[in-house]
């Protein structure tokens, strides 16, 4: 475990043999981290589905009135069709990448904002730290989805997928900022950072060349966590009817199914597709983030065994 620890947690230390040894370390480590493997497999099968799907089915079939409405699954419509004549297989092919897109954009924006704020707060300290931490603490007590409802309701007209991602990202950066700050606080006191400071490196240089590389596994774990949280928030907003009205994302499909009483009309297939897709998505993200957590935080390893 010791060698992996060096390879993973302090990659900056062995700059002499960067490529191969680290890759080998990761490969052997992955074998011992079944959660990460299972999660990655599930997630990549979803990616594969959205990448290969359009080759086999026309994306136009995800539009309303393109198929016979309200058909249960059959050989022509493997996932059935909805009340407005969307082929639900085509909806899955079009909607899954859209939902992933919202999650990835929002997660990325959140992690960049969180990293910048967390690094600044942790490294600079003083009043800056107090301000950033105070804002984070206050915003963390706010129920995110509920506030996003105000924002999304105020943006009138059809909201686009990208807009949706930014709305969600606006309240997703506090947790990364908080946790990254506390990581930086411990890294700041390490000998090599002190050394860099003594040798006259400038603050931005220390932050990006000395501290950042050591934060990478940790950042990866919080990125996955942010993506999951962002998808959860976006699907929640969409289920309440605040999503992009013209895009068949997974959350909008749920909203339409609820609005048009799919359950009471016995149209189970209308709900099965989005539910199964969302469940696979969340479980895969959950396992990836748990697996990455183990890499970033070696103390967790004994917990899992």
């Amino acid at each position: 475990m010791g060698t992996i620890l060096v390879g993973q947690v302090a990659p900056a230390a062995d700059t002499a043999t960067p490529g191969i040894r680290r890759k080998l370390g990761i490969a052997t480590y992955l074998k011992r981290n079944p959660k990460l493997i299972a999660g990655l497999l599930m997630f990549s099968s979803l990616l594969l589905f959205s990448a290969l799907g359009p080759l086999f089915i026309d994306r136009e079939l995800a539009r309303p009135m393109s198929a016979i409405p309200s058909q249960p699954p059959s050989s022509t419509f493997p996932f059935g069709t909805d009340d407005q004549g969307r082929n639900l297989l085509a909806v899955a092919v079009v909607g899954l990448p859209l939902t992933l897109q919202v999650g990835l954009i929002a997660g990325f924006v959140a992690i960049v904002l969180g990293t910048v704020l967390g690094l600044t707060a942790g490294y600079v300290g003083g009043i800056t730290d107090m301000l950033i931490r105070g804002i984070c603490d206050i915003l963390l007590t706010v129920p995110g989805l509920v506030v996003l409802i105000t924002v999304a309701a105020s943006i009138q007209g059809a909201i686009s997928v990208q807009m949706m991602a930014l709305v969600v990202a606006s309240l997703a950066w506090m947790w990364p900022a908080r946790t990254i700050r506390s990581q930086v606080l411990t890294l700041r006191e390490r000998a090599y950072v002190q050394m860099a400071k003594l040798s006259g490196m400038k603050t931005p240089e220390i932050i990006f060349r000395e501290i950042m590389p050591n934060l990478l596994p940790f950042l990866a774990a919080s990125f996955v966590g942010s993506v999951a949280a962002a998808i959860l928030a976006s699907i929640g907003l969409e289920a309440l009817g605040l999503g992009p009205q013209n895009e068949p994302t997974l959350g909008m499909t749920i909203y339409w199914a609820i609005s048009f009483n799919a359950v009471i009309r016995g149209m189970w297939w209308w709900l099965t597709m989005p539910i199964v897709a969302i469940v696979i998505l969340f479980i895969s993200l959950f396992m990836i983030s748990a697996g990455l957590d183990e890499i970033a935080n070696p103390r967790l390893r004994k917990v899992s065994s």
């Binding site: 506030v147 105020s154 929640g236 289920a239």
Partner: protein, 331 residues
């Protein structure tokens, strides 16, 4: 020192409430379009009114709601209104005030949430701790995987599945609503039984989904607590298993769990609001859903403000209870 902490925490609470009110005030004004004008235009196309009439109505509405005053004065008026829980009129159910609609729906939501949060917290914590406890029966460990799955999926997906299977296919429970349509809410035993029957499924979806995350959370904590020296010492002293589990293990492992209760209240409430929509349960979530569909902005903003207020209060109470649970943190 405790007073200083109390003051600081209360200050944070006030800032949150003020921030929510300010957001509610400025966001609609920054957004393109004017809700009142749009609403009236929508009504006029339905009723065949002429456009000139609408412009006059907009002007009279603006005067009525004080929208012709300077912005800062509007803002101050608005804050005072918020303090009095006056959120304005509902646009879709006009003579009704948003406040009344919200206060009618609130008891349903609060009741549902209070019961489900307490049950899921207690059950989940116990279950997770037992899964991690080395002396528990082996089969408990097989529960870890389903718990992980439950923790990963949103509440309302489980709600949809339960609704389809238990209410639609098997007809064990009513399909929707908070009580049988046609009955008048009263205090009779019969009515309460009816309410209970209607609330079992919404409650079950929230409890099942929430149990997972509590169990996962405490399981990790319990495992690291088990490695502590005082546990070994307790065992060496020959303490009974129960004493070790509850007073030594659970007591210590539970503390971070309380913190996460405070942090995840918002998450629980958001999930529960959508569960209400799935079951058309007459709470705040369904009110919000219908208000969004009907572009009833004052009700939407009112609901958001009330939820932020209630959650701010609840989070503050949990935070303040913390020092009583952990004697080490008596600031």
């Amino acid at each position: 020192m405790t007073w200083k902490l109390l003051g600081k925490r209360f200050g944070m609470f006030l800032i949150v409430i003020w921030g929510a009110a300010t957001l509610n005030f400025f966001l609609p004004r920054l957004a393109p379009g004017d809700p009142i004008r749009e609403r009236l235009f929508a009504l006029s196309t339905q009723g065949g009114l002429t456009q000139t009439g609408v412009e006059e109505m907009v002007a009279s509405y603006n005067a009525r709601f004080g929208l012709d005053l300077p912005l800062w004065q509007q803002y101050l008026n608005y804050l005072v209104d918020m303090l009095r829980f006056d959120f304005g009129y509902s646009l879709s159910l006009f003579p009704a005030k948003a406040t009344d609609l919200i206060f009618d729906a609130l008891p349903w939501t609060v009741g549902l949430l209070l019961v489900t949060t307490i049950i899921s917290f207690v059950l989940g914590t116990l279950l997770g701790a037992l899964i991690a406890w080395p002396r528990s029966p082996k089969w408990l460990e097989y529960l870890a995987a389903p718990m992980l799955t439950l923790a990963a999926i949103p509440y309302y997906l489980l709600a949809l599945v339960l609704l389809y299977v238990l209410a639609f296919s098997w007809k064990w429970f009513p399909l929707s609503g908070g009580y049988t349509p046609g009955t008048q809410p009263n205090m009779s035993l019969e009515f309460w039984w009816d309410v209970l029957k209607h609330s079992i499924l919404p409650a079950l979806s929230i409890i099942l989904a929430a149990i997972g995350s509590w169990a996962i959370g405490i399981r990790g904590m319990m495992i690291s607590t088990n490695g502590e020296d005082y546990m070994t010492f307790a065992e060496a002293r020959g303490l009974r298993g129960n004493t070790m589990f509850f007073r030594y293990g659970l007591r210590n492992a539970m503390l971070p769990q309380i913190t996460s209760l405070a942090l995840s209240l918002g998450h629980i409430v958001s999930g529960a609001l959508i569960v209400e929509v799935v079951f058309t349960y007459p709470g705040v979530g369904s009110l919000l859903f219908n208000a969004i569909r009907g572009a009833d902005y004052f009700v939407v903003y009112g609901v958001v403000f009330m939820v932020v207020l209630a959650l701010g209060l609840a989070t503050m109470l949990v935070d303040l209870a913390y020092p009583f649970l952990d004697p080490r943190i008596r600031h």
